[in-house]
Assembly symmetry: C2
């Protein structure tokens, strides 16, 4: 039974997504933004995880191919609509759909992409179609809920760390979990194994998202690929900021509030001041501990999947890579 | 075997839609606009047609209940997003979602309503789940295409009558057709019968939409419920305007273009001038002939459905009522 690597899986996804002849059709105003979005690539994490999960139980990974493509289409649909809501100009180094065309085009093409995702998902093996679709739509609703919480939190005075974790779980983790679950089902994995795959994906997603918050402040910009401190400049309520607010005594809380509301001549000064507060409060260590905790939950869940260890190696390697770790 | 009336069906739909306890949950910012939209009612034409079509083949119309609710949810989702795109302030006499909340809220709640529609549709009987979903998503894509053509046509210099008919077919008729088809399948109707139901719905939708264009100009405002001439004031490319453009000689075409581009002190004067042109060209008669033609196609298709005539009577009566006819 062949074991596919992440690279092989993401190549298969790229080939399938970059040759969708059935989308080269009128009305071009609807389909061109979809083709454009697919052409901007992405890392194909979700779709590759679906193929790798399928491969745990079966060597016929094409059983999970269209469900995997569906997950990619769904993810891209949410990005197009999120970018309208955030008025984001750039995605994957290219103009966002609403900037390149218009908000109306991005709205409608996004809707069409959501339909397309449903159509692709319908190509799951008949024997598992019902549970696959159940998980897919449940997850889709949770992703909408996560986006709503995220928007609500922008205007909230106080958010607890539990509320924050629930938000990132809904917005990010459940789709990773769903990808593994659906891939597993398509490969013939039973309910128990797929539930463990789900828990693996959910905890990996949480670890990844907290790490994303951490890297915004503490990453090496040359390695991270984007400038650090963006979240600080935007006063974004990240794991770091919420933890700092909770840990700070009255004086430190005032200093943090002042840093967030004062005018700084340059962004660098604001970043330096907030980072100094984080350092004093040892927020970096707190975040690292939490990342470690969720990442270990993830690996424990993967251990529980009753499949020979070598077959799980590619998934474990991808998880390590996502977390930028060696082992 | 009981034969349900349209009133009974729409009451069942109203009861189910107005008591969705499972939607009374957080985040309220996501679910309240959905509950609000359901509470504004509507005529439940699509969902009732699904129940009536189910009832042709089975007395257990609850087999089609959630698919019917799904069609209603899907229709309302498209209205919420269309209203953003058209910046429409009022729907069913109430503020539209993007006016009452915001465009972002309408965007995201609309997306959630689309997911909800998929979840409801998943409750179709297992034996027909695959073809039901196939038809549902195919139709959803066509509705997106219809909306795109409609937006494209706003900026087009010339549209043929065939292009116009194809646009209204996609934007309006296919969802009526899909409702009857899915209802029929849920009731146990075979492929051939459901295809005839589809053709009935498709042609009824075309007749209805052309009639909608006609009534905007020639209806009695007291009966029609809204002021006439709105399409003329907006220079909307309706069946009447496109037919007039095609029939007019050079002089008449110039007069029509002038009427569309000149400043009139009051809308009434513009409406009177364009209506006078339509009258001269006998556009009303052309439209009535076309409505008659599609309506007869619809009734012929319904005749072909192999079910005792009395069982089809409620569907025929609803069609007559939609067309404001006695027989």
């Amino acid at each position: 039974m062949p074991v596919y690597t992440f690279e092989q899986c993401s190549d298969i996804i790229a080939q399938t997504l970059n040759n969708p002849a059935h989308l080269n059709r009128e009305p071009f105003g609807l389909y061109e933004p979809i083709l454009y979005t697919f052409s901007t690539g992405g890392k194909y994490i979700r779709s590759s995880l679906a193929l790798l999960a399928c491969n745990l139980f079966s060597d016929k990974i094409d059983q999970a191919l269209y469900p995997a493509i569906a997950l990619e289409a769904f993810h891209n649909f949410t990005l197009i609509h999120d970018d309208i809501m955030d008025d984001a100009p750039i995605r994957r180094g290219k103009p966002t759909v609403h900037m390149k065309w218009s908000a109306n085009t991005a709205l409608l093409s996004g809707d069409a992409m959501h339909v397309l995702a449903c159509q692709y998902m319908l190509r799951a093996p008949g024997a598992v179609l019902q549970p696959v679709l159940q998980m897919f739509h449940k997850t889709a609703m949770e992703v909408c809920e996560g986006q709503q919480w995220d928007m609500d939190f922008e205007h909230a005075d106080y958010i607890s760390i539990d509320e924050y974790l629930r938000m990132i779980e809904l917005k990010t983790s459940v789709l990773l979990a769903c990808s593994l679950y659906i891939g597993g089902l398509c490969g013939g994995g039973d309910q128990v194994q797929c539930d463990w795959l789900y828990q693996f994906g959910r905890n990996l997603g949480l670890a990844f998202q907290i790490q994303d918050d951490l890297l915004d402040v503490y990453a090496d910009p040359a390695v991270f690929g984007k400038a650090t401190g963006g979240d600080i400049v935007a006063n974004k309520k990240t794991f770091l900021l919420i933890t700092a607010m909770n840990k700070a005594d009255e004086a430190m809380r005032l200093r943090l509030h002042r840093a967030m509301s004062t005018y700084f001549p340059t962004p660098e000064e604001k970043i330096a001041e907030v980072t100094a507060i984080y350092d004093t409060l040892h927020i970096r260590e707190d975040a690292e501990k939490e990342i470690e905790r969720y990442f270990n939950f993830a690996l424990d869940a993967l251990d529980k999947v009753e499949v020979d260890a070598p077959r799980k190696e590619e998934i474990r390697k991808l998880a390590l890579r996502l977390m930028k770790r060696q082992k």
